[in-house]
């Protein structure tokens, strides 16, 4: 039976607050499946209150300074424990020239949730929680992002597109955790956009869509389209993309591609929206995001 307690944490656990990534790897190699890595805690603590997860060990990333930093060197390298608010401020305030090309990222951060949650929740946490509705996932998919995964014995970098397995499930093994997310710096003639439909701004997406377009004159040189809350994992609309790349851009093409995206998604009906509604609005937000991304190409 699902517990509805949200007042106290019944479950008992040991709390670990390491200060280096190597300590995290050590702890995970010791405790494996009985441990859970915690970044902001905004998803994990709710799951623990509801007794959907009962880790015997909680390993906090909060005191690991390097996982809270963003560096720019050919790519944006974002520490997994970077708060959504800090990421938003980095992109929109500190690097406005980047912000125009990565408008989808700043928009997804801005529409993420309440300001309080944006201060707490992290990029790594949003990805590792692997909600099909995660707002940052479609954006990062359209940016060709990669994630660096570490364990005690190995470190590897994989495309984000290979990271999600199902609702709440990723390719992470019991001894592994995410240290960094990399976003290749987009070329000058790149534009992006993000659209989200939810009951109110602070709410979880009913559908969201991210688009990146690389423009060559009037032609779409390259593009990515990804949607959230429309499939068991964040979804890359490949058929829609194929109909877009190499074509002359215009409102009719955006309409056509939006339609294709709405047809290839696999939405379910749940408490937030029906499948039919998701399909209807997916068309609208993909079309609108395409128009916006094209405008943002500069």
């Amino acid at each position: 039976m699902l517990s509805t307690n949200t007042h106290i944490l019944f479950s008992e656990f040991e709390y670990h607050a390491p200060t280096t990534v190597n300590e995290v790897a050590e702890l995970l190699s010791e405790y494996g499946d009985s441990a859970r890595v915690m970044a902001g805690g905004t998803d994990l603590l709710v799951q623990m209150k509801m007794e959907r997860r009962r880790p015997a060990h909680v390993i906090s990333l909060q005191r690991i300074n390097e996982l809270h930093t963003i560096t720019q060197n050919g790519a944006l390298t974002i520490g997994a424990a970077t708060a959504i608010r800090a990421l938003d401020q980095y992109v929109t305030l500190n690097h406005p020239s980047l912000g125009a090309r990565l408008e989808s990222l700043s928009a997804a951060c801005n529409l993420f949730s309440s300001v309080q949650i944006m201060h707490m929740a992290t990029l790594g946490g949003n990805l590792c929680n692997a909600s099909p509705a995660a707002d940052t996932a479609p954006v990062l998919l359209t940016c060709d992002a990669t994630v660096t995964i570490k364990s005690k014995t190995a470190e590897k970098t994989v495309p984000l597109a290979d990271f999600f397995v199902g609702p709440g499930k990723t390719i992470l093994g019991p001894n592994e955790f995410v240290t960094y997310i990399q976003i290749p710096l987009p070329a000058q003639n790149t534009g992006s956009a993000f659209r989200k439909i939810s009951r109110v701004v602070a709410d979880i997406s009913q559908v969201c869509a991210a688009v990146t377009i690389v423009r060559d004159g009037n032609i779409v040189q390259d593009a990515r389209i990804a949607l959230g809350s429309v499939a068991p994992v964040p979804f890359c609309a490949e058929q829609a993309r194929a109909a877009l790349v190499g074509e002359t851009f215009g409102p009719e093409l955006a309409e056509h591609v939006g339609n294709l995206a709405a047809q290839e998604i696999k939405p379910i009906s749940d408490v937030r929206a029906t499948s039919a509604y998701r399909r209807s609005v997916a068309f609208v937000i993909v079309r609108d995001a395409l128009m916006q991304a094209w405008d943002n190409c500069g």
Binding site: N5, I8, L9, A17, G41, L45, V46, V115, Q116, V201
Partner: protein
């Protein structure tokens, strides 16, 4: 599950807490410190009633482990007035009667304080956007927004008077 002794800076004063890993900050504030201005609303990060400032940032105390607050500065509504003098935001909420039942007042005031620390002269749209995670079930938002804008004006005037 062993309790741990930690030091926090609560409302500008150092405090020693003995906390278990599963103690939530909200419950420590309300039950151990008897600071009941911070409210339990939904417990899942939807309502904003449990908002406090940690190291100057507005966060949710119902989704914060107390043990994670070691060496951090925590500000609750009880610590906002200094030396018996209300904060400008508190005064503005009084002036604009920006509460009905009062349940969301602590979180609305702390959130407005955080907003004005970040954006001293916000537009109405910025106020509404910043307070989007704070629910008022009396739906007294109009007066809350007026109070936030009033506090900003009052602080700008106070700075202007100090400069003159």
């Amino acid at each position: 599950m062993q309790p741990k002794s930690i030091t926090v800076y609560l409302n500008h004063e150092p405090r020693e807490w003995r906390v278990h890993p599963n103690d939530l900050l909200l419950n420590v504030l309300r039950e151990h410190e008897a600071l009941t201005g911070t409210k339990y609303g939904c417990g899942i990060g939807e309502c904003g009633a449990c908002t406090v400032h940690i190291d100057g940032e507005p966060v949710l105390s119902c989704l914060t482990l107390a043990i994670a607050c070691e060496d951090k500065s925590i500000l609750t509504i009880e610590g906002l007035a200094r030396d018996g003098k209300l904060d400008a935001v508190q005064t503005a909420f009084l002036d604009h009667s920006a509460f009905q039942c009062g349940f969301c007042t602590s979180d609305m005031i702390l959130m407005t304080r955080a907003l004005l620390n970040e954006i001293p002269n916000p537009t109405e749209e910025q106020v509404r956007d910043y307070l989007r995670g704070n629910l008022c079930r009396c739906t007294g938002y109009a007066s809350i927004v007026r109070a936030a804008l009033g506090a900003a004006t009052q602080e700008a005037n106070a700075i202007g008077a100090a400069d003159a």
